[in-house]
């Protein structure tokens, strides 16, 4: 039997896989060394890799992300653990203007083996500054890989893979899934980036959902199956690169598509995926494609408001019912 671990533990293991594989890898962040990170997600790294490769940082997001970008250009492999993805905004210049473009601006003189890890998504009243899903922002910038894992197994392997590529990557574990467990091999492994997974096969409607939304969609699929609607559920796992083929193949079979995502709708994941399917599989469609996103407002604090804002089981069931009709 494969042992089960949480996403929190999977983060630590994913870091360790990459750090073992490439000794030039170092990690920085706030309280990540002897305190093991504010979620406990870096536990054990200091002991295994030592203080030269596991460094505590002052609260200087721009400073340490820029440092990592510079070091990555010089040939180190760098991990910036930025705690919450909300805090990437403090380092946006270094991410968007420097790290994402450095290879391009230099005409290919430098690589950018830098990975930024920030917990993402709404969970129990984190409120406007600790709940955001900012991945669409980064998807809009050429040169950034965007990884949105939905479970501990994928998280470990995709995180290691992201660190070991020579591209800037953002890995965004969901805060609400940090304690979610699943079977994860103890051994070191790396998963391919850009490969979606078909979570369940179906014939009536395709649903694409990553991260936490995948879990809501899975519940919805159960409920819909009771009502005689067969859902094919796809976890894209990485949004950049996006495994377009798996999605197209599914839509060509079902003729219907619903995208669920925790980022906002305007220029969001739904818009992108639906546009691509429209371009490449229009003739296969039997109904208008639909997208389900949070209400376009900051993530509110009060639990009733937070709940009202986010996509959930009922909203997904409603939309799919309409599409399937």
């Amino acid at each position: 039997m494969v042992r089960e671990i949480t996403c929190t533990q999977a983060i630590a293991e994913g870091y360790a896989v990459a750090m073992r594989k490439d000794p030039s890898t170092f990690i920085v962040g706030e309280g990540i060394a002897d305190r093991g990170g504010c979620f406990g997600h870096t536990t054990g790294l200091l002991v295994e890799f030592g203080p030269e490769r596991v460094l505590d940082m002052p609260i200087s997001e721009s400073g340490f992300v820029g440092m990592c970008a510079g070091a990555a250009a010089c040939g180190s492999r760098a991990i910036a653990d930025i705690m919450y993805v909300d805090f990437t905004t403090l380092a946006m210049d270094q991410i968007i203007n420097q790290a994402a473009k450095l290879r391009y601006m230099s005409g290919g003189q430098y690589e950018m083996p830098l990975t930024i890890v920030g917990v993402s998504g709404a969970n129990r009243s984190g409120g406007p500054h600790h709940s955001q899903s900012l991945h669409p922002l980064f998807m809009n910038i050429p040169g950034i890989l965007v990884v949105l894992p939905s479970n501990a197994y994928d998280l470990k392997g995709l995180l290691a893979a992201a660190i070991l590529t020579n591209d800037l990557a953002l890995v965004l574990p969901h805060r609400g899934l940090l304690n979610a467990r699943c079977g994860v091999p103890e051994k070191d492994y790396v998963l391919p980036l850009g490969e979606a997974r078909v979570i369940r096969e179906g014939k009536d409607v395709s649903i694409v959902a990553a991260g936490m939304m995948l879990h809501h969609a899975a519940e919805a699929a159960d409920k819909l199956s009771d009502r005689g609607i067969s859902v094919e559920l796809i976890d894209p796992r990485t949004l950049v690169p996006l495994d377009e083929n798996t999605i197209l193949k599914s839509v060509k079979k079902t003729g219907r598509l619903v995208v669920v995502d925790e980022g906002y709708s305007n220029c969001g994941v739904g818009a992108e995926i639906i546009a691509r399917v429209q371009e490449k599989a229009f003739d296969f469609l039997d109904a208008p494609m639909q997208r389900i996103h949070p209400v376009s407002a900051p993530i509110p604090f009060s639990p009733v408001l937070e709940h009202a804002l986010l996509p959930d089981l009922d909203k997904i069931v409603d939309v799919v019912m309409k599409v399937a009709r």
Partner: protein
Amino acid sequence: MKVTDQIKISLFRTMLRIRQFEMAVREHFQKTDIPGFAHLYVGEEAVATGLCAVLNPDDYVTSTHRGHGHCIAKGADLNRLMAELWGRKTGYCKGRGGSMHVYAREVNLLGTSGIVGAGLPLSLGPAIHAKLNKSGQVSVCFFGDGAANNGTFHESINLAAVQKLPVVFVCENNLYATVTAVHESTKTENFADRAAGYGIPGVIVDGNDVMDVLEKADKAVARARSGKGPTLLECKTYRHFGHYVGEPGTAYRPQEERNEWAKRDPIRMFCTHLVENGTIDPEGIEAIEHEVEKEIVEAVEFAGNSPLPDPQTVAQHVWSGQ
């Protein structure tokens, strides 16, 4: 570092290369051969020259929007630098960067920068890379008085101080950030005074005296190399021309002030010093001037004759392995 006559003459040559390069940039910008923006380093040559003279070839430099001087002092090839400014395929960055985004890996020049203050965090990267690899390399970070009021100044200097990173922070205080005089943006007299707040040495440098720059840079670099951490150098200097080539109004800088600084032209001052001390005679100076002139003419020809980048390659170098 013992400054031999030979070193002094090479300092002079480097300053002159920068000056003449910039004058050519000015000319060809005005002729519209060079697109975009051009921020000239004329008047500030002693800073980059004195600083880079104490560096090893594999030490790192991060630069600014006013960066041609740093590139040249660090040893960048004039032809490829000029070609980059012209947006040509043969430029350092194959025309993807231009004046404000020059990267020259072969001399560890980690970029001029279109974002004021962005080079400070980035400069910590080579430093921590060097520290991890115990390579003994040093990272030098040039930035302006304007950049010193960006938040990255605080984050980067503090971070470098606590991590004892081998960085030398070089504030080029040319008294203006675009049209804003330093006394309008900054309450302290000297940026170097801020070093005390980070627990590192801060040193005021005469940025128009290449020997003063060299001497103080030498100490700061030695300190960084020996693992004692960063130093903040503040080089007082002045740009002769406007903020960029073609800047419409220049009235914000009093004529009297400009005249005073013109008298302290770093190249003329050093030339006089060299001749008066018998380091070199006027014929020797003239010979160097001709040699440099030839190099610059060649760089302009190289750039002008170089092919433009192939539009088909526009998406190349976004991702690794492309």
